[in-house]
Symmetry: C2
Subunit: 313 residues, 2 copies
Amino acid sequence: MNKDIDILISEVGPRDGLQNTKVFMSTEYKKKWISAAAAAGLREIEVCSFVPPKLIPQMADAAEVVAHALTIPGLNVAALAPNFRGAQGAMEAGVQKLTLTISVSKAHSLANVRMTPDEAIASAKKICEFRDSLPKDKRPVIESGLSTVFGCTLEGAVSEDEVVRMAVASVEAGCDEVGLADTTGYANPEQIRRVFKKVRAAIGDRLSGAHLHNTRGLGLANVVAALEVGVTTFDSSLGGLGGCPFAPGASGNIVTEDLVFMLESMGLRTGINMEKLLAMRSILEEGIPGEPLYGYVPLAGVTKGFVPATPQQ
Amino acid sequence: MNKDIDILISEVGPRDGLQNTKVFMSTEYKKKWISAAAAAGLREIEVCSFVPPKLIPQMADAAEVVAHALTIPGLNVAALAPNFRGAQGAMEAGVQKLTLTISVSKAHSLANVRMTPDEAIASAKKICEFRDSLPKDKRPVIESGLSTVFGCTLEGAVSEDEVVRMAVASVEAGCDEVGLADTTGYANPEQIRRVFKKVRAAIGDRLSGAHLHNTRGLGLANVVAALEVGVTTFDSSLGGLGGCPFAPGASGNIVTEDLVFMLESMGLRTGINMEKLLAMRSILEEGIPGEPLYGYVPLAGVTKGFVPATPQQ
């Protein structure tokens, strides 16, 4: 991580946020969003997923969006892929970080990517081998994004031993990093501390970040717990967009605005300019009109006399 | 604290929640709410405030509400008073715990109770002396509810030395307990840890609970931080009612339903039955129709296979 920030926020809105919206965001607005996010100080953006346009039409312009993001100096351009074909497309497009979704829950894995968790690991191995066959400057960092780590809507509780096994298998398959995702909003702070510790004991610094959801309102509480056990990378999305909210008012992803406000208030530098970040919501309001946006700080404003940890420019 | 619970939830909805509602809740529904809360396992309820009905008409039935609450076995009946007259009324009504609001911010104190913080301490001393003049079985526990501890909408930052001084002064005035309130939703987890530690260093076990707001979405994150530094009593309100939300969607008090779900998921016993707690929202929907209610767990439901720490009866 750069020495001028304490916490890396990975903005996943353009990928996770847009895949379920009713209204499609135009390529123009996606580019606008990504540029504004980078200008606000975000260092990493998951800009799209490489999936069949038939399944998620919103991602049909993935390659064009990546091409735009790659023109922004200093930005780490990330994308997601569920399988070999998607991964190949992402690498052809030139992404710098590639996240593979690998579900720890068998039922979820079968429903989501029609592979068992072990088959998904085998696929990750093939993807990593393909990556290693590319010229050095074309090889993205590959993250195993373990999903349903803290519980599954189909299976309920997920075995922590199985989480550790899948993390180790991911590294053995060639993944550079392993992130842990609370896909379903099941995690609680105690569990966060326990599971991150267990996985770190098994794979050390290969453990990268936390992808947390706010489905049951525990998103930022879980961030506090993750900070305690040394997690320094967090996914979030502008306006809390995405993350499969399944009830009105029940948001999905943790909200970038609230997360950044909390971290900066705690004295942790994110490198992000709070004012520019809050101003970005208008891009969503215009680009996907009518979509529900979440977040408290955008409504209440920052506190009087707020002094962020990041020097504001 | 009873040995069968780890955390005491003090439900403040009937007081803090109702003082700003547009629709008045009838005395009948207040009684219904209090009875249902006790039946769901809540051990302490702040049932009303003793304030001039001219200022807060919703509290005109305070004495009747207290009388009802006192009939419920095992319930600790709490009320709030801003001044001597109110405190006298509360003691006449027979409350078992009396919280005095004492603001650390001078500007807030003057605006709220037309006394400086030091004058409010002098008033607390008179109230404690009056309490001590009563027969032993008529003497409530008196809590100094320090407000604007973590920041003030009028003054901005609040001095932590001043918070400590006011906590010490509260104890010297005769208060049995001192609670710390984030009246304005300004607190962050780092500050929570720091301030609670400082106050505990000064007054030890006289430090009672945390009254946290969710104005900027950090309510449960602050609970996690408070738990770390040994806080075991939390105020919250059903449906997040009250706590001066000043923007649509920006809730005030932390939501009892979400708080209990989080604590129980973490293995901390609250003594509360989750199903009965969630069912109670219908009392608010009927008793104050149209009032916005908050909370995520009521929308998303508990997790599949949820095993609460409290044995559910």
